[in-house]
């Protein structure tokens, strides 16, 4: 998929990421309900949807040519908002059902109306026919008969962008299974099994936890998939199960902070990742409202920050640097000064242009390349 102006190098000096917009309140005290839990562009990039922990969905639409307000072209403004899920109580199982929006997926446009689907994940993966709402096909079931035997859970799943019979799901043990629904109705047996070999001498208490995959995303081409674990982003070639073809370190300096991160539960934070339109770059979030971009061809990377301070219209984002140890340089920030409450878990990249949406707790930031 060729991107308009998206084929260049997004990291380093070739791109200038600039602030475009920020949505949300400047509250000191953030209400749980306002925390953004998912961000997704639609297929054209003209629509941008967010979901929050309060079960609400907000859809933004990109402004087209506007003679009255010429500067507003390219801006995302509210198109619609609604309460998607409400808190519920399942009386049969005595379970409180969370209203948090976990994922939003846009359906390809079939008529003038736009449809979207908001969903949840489990020990099972079910396939729903959109017109049959009272039952579904179970395609993966890893729930053991005895829950005490549970050793692994499904952490993320995605359908192949072109082959609708192929899906992948990742686990809390850092493995990815690829299933082909044409080979069997129940995909408990995988077609492919992806796992990076581990050096047994380097194993520690934290090894399994930090290897847990929090997100899996196919490339637009369908040739690769990317996984996010606690400290890195890995790119896998679907034809090679033995190890990833690329590993990008997101915040390796956190390896010497794992004890504290386990105690404050941050080690369980689920970061997502995304590809740019041409699959030449990947992006993921970190702490202190930092997010990272990796250029796959040049191997260059950049750390940027979503903050109100650098939110002047069209202001260029300045690359950030974390000082892992030793003498801290002037513009660097030390690991101990990082704010672990400011997590960027959700980011989205426009499918064609160099426009990105970054969710920073209860605020949505939109950044654009200067050339846009």
């Amino acid at each position: 998929m060729a991107g308009a102006g998206g084929g260049g190098c997004p990291a380093g000096n070739d791109f200038q990421w600039c602030f475009s917009q920020v949505k949300g309140a400047v509250d000191e005290d953030v209400a749980e309900a306002d925390i953004i839990s998912t961000v997704e562009f639609n297929y054209s990039g003209d629509l941008l949807a967010t979901g929050d922990k309060g079960g609400r969905v907000v859809i933004f639409q990109r402004e087209q040519e506007n003679k009255i307000r010429p500067h507003s072209r390219g801006e995302y403004n509210v198109y619609s908002t609604f309460q998607s899920h409400e808190p519920e109580f399942d009386y049969l199982k005595s379970l409180e059902i969370e209203e948090k929006i976990n994922k939003i997926r846009w359906l390809p446009q079939q008529n003038a109306a736009h449809f979207l689907l908001s969903t949840n994940d489990d020990l099972r993966i079910n396939l729903w026919h959109l017109e049959i709402t009272d039952r579904s096909f179970n395609i993966v079931d890893i729930k053991p008969a005895n829950m005490e035997e549970l050793t692994e859970v499904i952490t993320a799943a995605e359908f192949h962008p072109h082959q609708c019979n192929v899906l992948v799901y990742s686990s809390s043990k850092g493995t990815i299974r690829l299933c082909d629904m044409r080979s069997s109705a129940l995909c408990d047996r995988h077609s492919k099994f992806f796992e990076e070999p581990e050096d047994p001498s380097s194993r520690s208490f934290f090894s399994e936890i930090i290897s847990s995959i929090s997100d899996v995303k196919f490339s637009h081409s369908g040739r690769y998939m990317m996984t996010r674990d606690y400290l890195s982003v890995k790119v896998w070639d679907l034809n090679m199960e033995s190890r990833p073809v690329e590993t990008h370190q997101v915040h390796e300096y956190l390896r010497s902070k794992l004890c504290s991160l386990y105690e404050n539960d941050c080690i369980f934070d689920k970061f997502e990742c995304c590809w740019n339109g041409s699959d030449s770059a990947v992006m993921t979030g970190s702490y202190n409202n930092f997010f990272r971009m990796f250029d796959r061809s040049t191997r260059r990377d950049v750390t940027l920050e979503a903050s109100r301070e650098s939110s002047k219209p069209r202001a260029s984002l300045k690359p950030r640097k974390v000082c892992a140890g030793g003498k801290r340089k002037k513009d660097e920030i030390s690991v101990d000064s990082l704010d672990f409450n400011k997590k960027i878990l959700h980011t989205a990249w426009h499918p064609v242009d160099n426009v990105i949406a970054v969710a920073a707790t209860n605020n949505l930031y939109i950044f654009q390349d200067k050339a846009n």
């Binding site: 109580f89 829950m147 520690s204 208490f205 010497s256």
Partner: protein
Amino acid sequence: MSQKLEEENPAEETGQEKQDTQEKEGILPERAEEAKLKAKYPSLGQKPGGSDFLMKRLQKGQKYFDSGDYNMAKAKMKNKQLPSAGPDKNLVTGDHIPTPQDLPQRKSSLLTSKLAG
């Protein structure tokens, strides 16, 4: 001839030593963190991947209230106090019966998202 060999060997050894140090530095941070954690919590299990651990992750803060269990416990206890939630209210263990007071209140419908403001 012998002098040349002596000169070559020290360089190789330095190279090998450097590699060893780098490997040790790579392993050391995680192991040091593990030691810190075990010092703080000596009763921590060997493997974190056990079912209790995963169940805690799956629960995600949801609380289970079974009215049958609750009423039976009440009947058994009669005048005695029901065992109340321990310091960690998020973890429901086998011998703790959640009471209605332990459960968070059901939230009412919300206002419009501030993102749309």
